[in-house]
């Protein structure tokens, strides 16, 4: 009986000391713990059960670490399990909306093509963290893509202009991201404004001449205009695609970006 009592008191003390020694409300503590546990999880890789178990261990210590939920969502995003993917990402947004609202907007825009939700998330994100970027682009870029894919071209144009203005901030000497120019060109192609389409696609090709999509959409624009130079651009698109040049966007290995093409479309010319 005495031994049992001693054990109980010891265990209570250990639990009490551990609970008191971790201040889960401290961002510094959260970041330190996350660094340790994410290193361990990445050693497994996100396909291994150890990935989820590692983050579960972390959340058992501090259940309010938003990044751990976002990381738990990664395998489900990659494998098309949207119920789980958004369950975890919604929890991340709930715990840290400043950081994770734009990421959920990105998932809605690029992965699940849920454009209304993407616009809602990015508009909220713009209020929380104005003029910020996620995965190489401004929030306006993703809003523009969402409007473009919803067929609301005038609104898409407004947001592509905002995206470019945001990139030009300061002295206005920054290069514009070549894929902002690509998609602005594609938008004008869809709007049948072929002069503007050529202008932006040409600007894109100045920065990234091997971009297969820019060459393809330039060829398609010239085809509509009856310009025989289309063949040159179709050939370039084919050549660069064969050489392994791609859209060059994060996660395009996992999911197709809007209007992304393959060799099949180039050969259908």
């Amino acid at each position: 009986m005495a031994k049992l009592l001693t054990l109980f008191i010891s265990l209570s003390l250990v639990v009490s000391v551990q609970a008191q020694s971790v201040d889960c409300s401290s961002k510094a503590v959260q970041d330190s713990l996350f660094e340790i546990y994410s290193k361990k999880a990445r050693a497994y890789g996100f396909l291994h059960p150890g990935w989820d178990q590692t983050y579960d261990s972390l959340l058992a210590i501090c259940p309010n670490i938003a990044e751990a939920y976002q990381e738990k969502g990664i395998p489900h995003v990659a494998n098309g399990n949207y119920e789980k993917a958004y369950e975890y990402n919604n929890k991340a947004v709930e715990l840290d909306p400043h950081r994770w609202t734009p990421y959920r907007g990105y998932l809605n825009c690029i992965y699940t093509k849920n454009y209304e939700k993407a616009i809602t998330d990015f508009e909220a994100a713009e209020k929380l963290t104005p003029n910020a970027f996620i995965l190489d682009h401004s929030f306006s870029f993703y809003i523009a893509l969402s409007y473009m894919e919803s067929g609301q071209y005038d609104k898409a144009e407004t947001y592509f202009l905002k995206d470019i203005a945001q990139q030009k901030r300061g002295e206005g000497k920054n290069d514009i991201h070549f894929n902002s120019l690509l998609y602005f060109g594609i938008l004008y192609y869809l709007m049948n404004e072929f002069d503007m389409a050529q202008k932006y696609l040409r600007d894109c090709l100045v920065l990234y001449p091997q971009q297969p999509m820019a060459n393809y959409y330039m060829a398609m624009t010239l085809k509509v205009l009856g310009n025989n130079q289309k063949d040159i651009y179709f050939e370039k698109a084919k050549q660069y695609m064969l050489e392994g040049y791609r859209l060059n966007e994060p996660n395009s290995l996992y999911v197709n970006y809007p209007r992304q093409i393959t060799m099949f479309e180039i050969e259908q010319r």
Binding site: Y82, Y86, T112, N256, R259
Partner: protein, 161 residues
């Protein structure tokens, strides 16, 4: 008599008879897999580990599936996502098809069985999967891929792959 009965049942549409298999780890259209002796007999890799996706654009796939569904001539209902995740063997044949379904808010949902069956029939028409791929110094690997169909009021409005 048996022959007459057989003739009676044969013309019935096969898809209407498909039964899903609800297992503790998921819902499947098809749990069978014939091991192809030409493929490497290891645990399969994922599509991104062999850097492949179905090699046509989303626009092309969308137009294709819309045509297929129109030819079926059925009316469907529901809004959300139907994901079919499957194994592509080293010769481009798909097996062991898992079904994942959510509504537009990514909550668990069940669409009409006929819609799921018709999409399942559609993916069996796809014959451009990359074959004979290598990964981790293994040749002719099988890989896991998926296609998600975004559905709005019973109509396929986008494809995710």
């Amino acid at each position: 008599m048996k022959f007459v009965l057989l003739l009676f049942f044969l013309p019935l549409p096969v898809s209407g008879w498909c039964q899903n298999y609800i297992l503790p780890y998921g819902e499947y259209m098809d749990t069978t897999m014939q091991i192809n002796p030409k493929c490497h007999q290891v645990y399969p890799v994922f599509y991104y580990q062999v850097k492949t996706k179905y090699p046509v654009s989303t626009m092309t796939l969308l137009a294709d599936v819309k045509t297929f569904m129109q030819m079926r001539g059925s009316k469907y209902a529901g809004t959300g996502y139907i994901t079919l995740r499957f194994l592509v063997d080293c010769e481009g044949i798909i097996h062991k098809i898992r079904v994942l379904q959510t509504d537009d808010n990514y909550q668990s949902y069940r669409f009409d069985k006929k819609l799921v069956n018709d999409l399942n029939d559609y993916i069996h028409t796809l014959d451009r999967w990359e074959k004979g791929l290598s990964a981790y110094q293994l040749e002719n690997v099988n890989y896991i891929a998926y296609l998600s169909f975004k559905i709005k009021n019973g109509e396929v409005v986008n494809v995710i792959h």
